[in-house]
């Protein structure tokens, strides 16, 4: 009797908690998916449907807008450049950022606090301000209009994220694990590669995604520093804001899809970080 009385409100609480949980999940999914879904529908609609209201919920598979971009001169080269620059940015920001994060978490050195603050300062200056002197410097040194030159700029933008993310990851891994590895015959390096690295791989993937997205979305530097080797964003985004609505949707779709594909490709590592790997 007392059991029944006690369990009834408990079940109720569990039920409403579960309801709250499910509706939060549904809401968050809708938050992300509904805009992308509408982007898809409008991309696959004829210009008349795009400007009409209410919007249909099923795409009508009108390929007009996408065909236009398929015939748009230079779009494939621009896509390739974007991938190359974003790839280089990803690698460079991890290669430079992860050691900095490791040092911040494992070693004590003078000026550590200042260093952590300074690393954020690279984001304190707006690019339109830096672009002119950068472009002059790049033209003089020959880095102008190269994927590598642009990747350096994007790496600078991505490094603060890489450093701070990896710093917190390394701090989350007990030094005892490394010490245990040292006692079992590992050097500092092999302990790192065999013990620490597998543990922080998901975090590396997360900061890689950050770097990729930062590079993918950056317009101003890309528009000023490249001419022949334009990235997709610099090539399309500036022109889209003044384009007709149906081409805006199609262009937006083209800009979003490669980034989505990339994030799907690395999601395995990302989920591992949250402890739901291999499920």
């Amino acid at each position: 009797m007392t059991d029944a009385v006690a369990s009834a409100p408990g079940a109720d609480t569990r039920k409403s908690a579960r309801f709250l949980y499910v509706s939060a999940v549904v809401f968050l999914c809708a938050w992300v998916l509904v805009p992308i879904y509408f982007l898809l529908i409008n991309t696959l609609s004829s210009p008349e449907t795009v400007t009409s209201f209410p919007k249909p919920f099923l795409p009508e598979f009108d390929m007009g807008s996408l065909t236009f971009f398929a015939g748009f001169a230079g779009i494939l080269t621009a896509l390739k450049n974007s991938v190359v620059v974003a790839g280089m940015t990803m690698v460079m920001s991890i290669v430079i950022g992860a050691p900095a994060g490791y040092a911040l978490s494992r070693f004590e050195f003078r000026g550590k606090g200042l260093f952590r603050l300074l690393i954020l300062l690279t984001r304190a200056f707006p690019l339109p301000l830096l672009a002119l002197p950068l472009a002059v410097l790049f033209i003089r040194t020959g880095l102008d209009d190269t994927a590598f030159g642009l990747a350096i700029v994007h790496t600078t933008l991505a490094i603060p994220f890489a450093v701070l993310i990896t710093f917190s990851l390394f701090s989350g891994i007990p030094i005892e694990l490394e010490e245990a590895a040292w006692t079992l015959g590992c050097t500092r390096l092999t302990a790192f590669t065999k013990v620490v690295l597998p543990l922080i791989l998901p975090g590396i993937a997360a900061s890689a995604i950050f770097a990729f997205v930062i590079s993918w979305n950056e317009v101003f530097a890309a528009a000023v520093l490249t001419i022949e080797n334009r990235t997709l964003t610099a090539f399309l985004l500036q022109n889209l804001d003044t384009s007709p609505l149906h081409l805006k949707f199609a262009g937006g779709f083209i800009l979003v899809v490669p980034a989505l594909i990339f994030i799907f490709a690395v999601r395995k590592y990302l989920f591992a970080m949250w402890g739901i790997a291999n499920r």
């Binding site: 400007t51 209009d145 007709p244």
Partner: protein, 422 residues
């Protein structure tokens, strides 16, 4: 240090030879115009394909356009061959950075445009390239609500307000549309249309009693304006979606509506006020920066852009009209026919009061526009007292005019020295 400078030297050497090779292949046409993807595609395929040399047409936002150009000018080594931009883009540059094009043998048919292109010097620093204007357009569903006795080709501001009010009353929604969005060209409406129509001036009469009347009228019109107008920048979108039935905008920002549904919309001249029917041209030009890698090829391209056939192809591609004397063919797109007729009626109307683009402001053009946008936001959106706002903004305007020393332009009466704000 020496190693670094050696590497830098080698790298820049390689880069220089690369750019030199690229320049031989293609002339880089660096433009702020024909930016929408369809227009840039048409520029590449229909206009520049016949140039007789490879042209790389790259349209940009004004920010990257100017930054890249300045970087090339500062470093003294360029990849840009030909610049395309609005009068205001060139006016903001230093005249020394543009090549003198006086001896090229091409110019516009309008002496006014040719004088503007000298940017206050005695040399042609850019060549007028194409022109446009601002007009009104309406959904045909709005026509039955025209006030009695009103001629759509000779409207006054009072009739326009009455018309918008009739539509508002009949549909229950405010259906006038005004490009007051972040990328909208609202300042041009005040500088080239409202002020000239009411005060017969822009700068001299900025805070006159007539200007107060003009703003009062605009407030009345705003009562019947779709409040979402502060998000509208390209009125063709709202015409097509039906959010606005009567609109004002740049001809090329209305083009899509006429091309998509030519039978549903009409284009007509801007309204007239007590001081006439004020209107203003838009002028784009082509220029060559002093750092152009291949001067001969760049000059050949500028000449090509002014050829009659190119001008017609450009009209089809961009909805900007020719600046040279040329007979227009009959098979032009609906948007061009509609806009062309409206502009022609506007210039030929007996009460026409044509204005000019702001000139002599140099890089202060943006601040000049800001004064008008601020006045709009304070008077119309924040509903502050008109007299107080104008007296306040007047000081800023006077400071800009004195600093730049810009003389008055039409319809303001000519001045000696800087145009005074009276």
């Amino acid at each position: 240090m020496t190693l670094f400078s050696k590497i830098a030297g080698v790298a820049s050497g390689v880069a220089l030879s690369c750019t030199a090779m690229a320049a031989q292949a293609d002339v880089l046409f660096w433009s702020t115009q024909a930016k929408p993807v369809e227009e840039s595609q048409a520029m590449r395929e229909q206009v520049l394909a016949g140039a007789g040399q490879g042209v790389d047409y790259q349209p940009n936002d004004a920010g990257p356009w100017l930054t890249r150009l300045n970087a090339e000018l500062q470093s003294g080594s360029g990849t840009i061959g030909v610049l395309g931009g609005l009068h205001g883009d060139f006016a903001a540059m230093s005249p020394d950075d543009l090549v003198d094009l006086s001896d090229l043998g091409v110019s516009s048919a309008s002496e006014t445009f040719n004088t503007l292109a000298m940017l206050g010097t005695d040399k042609m620093l850019y060549i007028p390239w194409m022109q446009a204007s601002y007009i009104m357009a309406a959904n045909k569903e709005a026509l039955p609500y025209l006030p009695e006795g009103a001629d759509i080709d000779a409207l006054t501001y009072d009739q326009l307000i009455e018309w918008a009010a009739n539509v508002h009353e009949a549909t229950g929604e405010p259906k006038f549309g005004f490009p007051a969005g972040p990328k909208g060209l609202k300042h041009r409406f005040f500088q080239g249309y409202l002020y000239p129509s009411y005060t017969n001036g822009v700068v001299r009469t900025f805070a006159s009693d007539d200007a107060v009347v003009a703003w009062e009228k605009f407030r009345e019109l705003w009562e019947h304006t779709n409040p979402a107008s502060t998000n509208f920048s390209f009125m063709q979108e709202q015409l097509l979606s039906g959010d606005a039935w009567i609109v004002f905008d740049h001809t090329s920002r209305l083009a899509q509506a006429f091309n998509d549904r030519p039978d549903d919309f009409v284009a007509f001249p801007a309204p007239a006020g007590p001081a006439g029917r004020g209107f203003m041209p838009v002028l784009a030009g082509v220029a060559i920066p002093r750092t152009a890698p291949d001067m001969e090829a760049a000059k050949a391209l500028v000449k090509y852009m002014l050829a009659p056939e190119t001008q017609i192809a450009t009209l089809r591609a961009t909805n900007f009209f020719p600046v040279v004397d040329v007979a227009l063919p009959d098979d032009l797109p609906p948007s061009v026919q509609a806009a062309g007729a409206a502009v022609a009626k506007m210039s030929a109307s007996p009460d026409a009061n044509p204005g000019l683009l702001p000139a002599g402001l140099g890089d202060k053009g943006g601040e000049f526009n800001r004064v008008f946008v601020d006045a709009f936001e304070r008077i119309v959106l924040a509903r502050q007292d008109i007299r107080a706002v104008l007296d306040d903004e007047k000081g800023k305007l006077a400071a800009i005019m004195e600093e730049t020393g810009a003389p008055c332009w039409a319809p303001d009466a000519p001045s000696e020295g800087a145009c005074p704000v009276e």
